[in-house]
Amino acid sequence: MAAATATSSVTRESPLSRFLGIAYVGLVYGFFYIPIIVIVLFAFSGRDIPALPLENFTTRWFHEALADEELMSSLWTSTWIAFVTAILATAIGMPAAMVLAWRPFRGKAFVFGLILSPIIIPQMVIGISLLLLFRYSPQLIGAIGIVIAHITLTLCFSVMIFYSRFLGFRMSLVEAAMDLGASEARTFFEVILPLATPAILAVMLLTFTESFGEFIVAWFVAGFDETLPIAIWTSLRFGLSPRINAIATLIMVISITLSALAQFWILRQTRAPSQAG
């Protein structure tokens, strides 16, 4: 009781300061979302340039964007590159995180440093350095090079998410399986993999999104291949077109829906076992 009253005396505040607080938060969130809203608004405006006033509600730009072969082929390139990146970043990152979380060994700090340091390097510098490397094997320049670059950029996220998941893992379950005679492989597929599914999904989603939207590194190593961000960048040189707004709106709706669904699903998955136990 005493604690409760003490707490309320701290959190009590005047309506004015409460109002100012909420107004400030509203302003900053407006700052976060106005640019996104503006993209969407102009996607439906009938004018040739994205400017006010909004006129003649139209879906013409969506039709034009979907009929634009260059835009669509770059969309396809981005999609498969992001998909391959997500799978490989998961496949390489997950076993590494298991070892890092579960096994003590010398030089762990060094391995962590090796895995995490790309975070602090400006992405542009990573792109340039990879381009210098690919000069010695030019056949890698292009879509393959982008996949390599994106895996390099996303491995650190993959390892960190898996690592924090595996640190909190109930090792007793793994030990129980092994004690009952399951092989390492069987333990992995029947115990570890199901329990790690939310983390796998989270990693794949994050690495997919990161790769799908990444521009600068891809731009350096792309050669003649075009991802969607590169196509958008190129078309920005020729002025602003509402077609970009249309394709941007489509992508945002899809990615925000997917991410929200996955987030929701992950939350449910992580809650379920604790409720059962």
Partner: protein, 292 residues
């Protein structure tokens, strides 16, 4: 007993498994991260002479950085912009993080998710959005002229260091809010209650309890915001225009336009050196804080 018999062989097996688990990522990082970085360092000591690379080691590119006003000014402007962006982000982020952690109640999770959602859209689209907002015929200018508040579009909105700064603040503010939120969230309400029970005013309790405890969050957020802001290319290129270059634009100019790869590599190395210096200083400082 069974376990004991197995130990020998399974320990060996697990050791092999551990090596197999780590080997791919270590190999990958060495081939596609360490090697390229080393290559970049090597390039920076070569020199472009008559469109060909002269492989005699030289410090020419580094000296050029300090004697060429274009490059040196780009470096200075980048540092100024990054410092300004970091400070503004800190000032904007603190009340938000504080509100989410202490005042939001049941809205907390929603507000946190709403900070992250813009990240689900491509960086280049978020930069493009600001071009739509700030452009000569953009949202703000056409809106103001519709309202009759201006006759001529405000020119300096776009293509200025101010536009670049706005774009960078927009892009990296969430990176500042999240670590700050974590550190403010750790401050227990009961500690504040204790301070107030001992006679401190709420303001004094804030400055002597809450604020000192979230300095690590402030520093971590500042370091990341600065690092991201100082090395960004897309936002200065789209919003800042070509008049006053930032270091990232200068690097791309060297690589793409001048084909001066050693020069671009040297600029990149200087950028990396600045970032490393800041990181090392911060890590030292954090350790000092731990000791004290």
């Amino acid at each position: 007993m069974l376990a004991n018999q197995q130990t020998g062989s399974s320990l060996k097996g697990r050791r092999t498994l551990a090596i197999a688990g780590l080997a791919p990522i270590i190999l990958w990082q060495i081939v596609f991260f360490v090697c390229p970085m080393a290559l970049l360092a090597v390039y920076s000591f070569w020199r472009l002479v008559d469109y060909k690379i002269d492989y005699t080691p030289t410090l020419y590119n580094y000296r050029d950085l300090f004697s060429n006003p274009l490059l040196f000014n780009a470096l200075l402007l980048s540092l100024q912009v990054a410092v300004a962006v970091t400070i503004v982000c800190a000032i904007l982020a603190y009340p938000i993080a504080y509100f989410i952690a202490k005042k939001a109640g049941r809205w907390r999770i929603l507000l946190l998710i709403l900070v992250i959602v813009p990240f689900w859209t491509s960086f280049i689209l978020r930069a493009y959005a600001w071009k739509l907002l700030l452009g000569e015929r953009g949202f703000i200018n056409s809106g103001l002229s519709l309202l009759g508040m201006i006759d001529q579009p405000i020119q300096y909105l776009l293509y200025s260091p101010v536009a670049t700064s706005i774009g960078l603040i927009y892009a990296f503010l969430p990176f500042y809010i999240l670590p700050l939120y974590t550190s403010i969230d750790k401050v227990q309400d009961s500690w504040l209650a204790a301070a107030q029970d001992l006679g401190a005013t709420p303001v004094r309790a804030f400055f002597e309890v809450t604020f000192p405890l979230c300095i690590p969050g402030l520093v971590v957020g500042a370091v990341f915001t600065f690092i991201f802001a100082v090395g960004d290319y897309v936002i200065p290129q789209l919003l800042g225009g070509g008049k006053s270059l930032l270091i990232a634009q200068a690097i791309v100019l060297e690589f793409e336009t001048s084909q001066n790869w050693p020069g671009g590599a040297a600029l990149s190395m200087v950028l990396l050196a600045i970032i490393l210096a800041i990181l090392i200083a911060t890590l030292r400082w954090i350790r000092m804080e731990d000791v004290v």
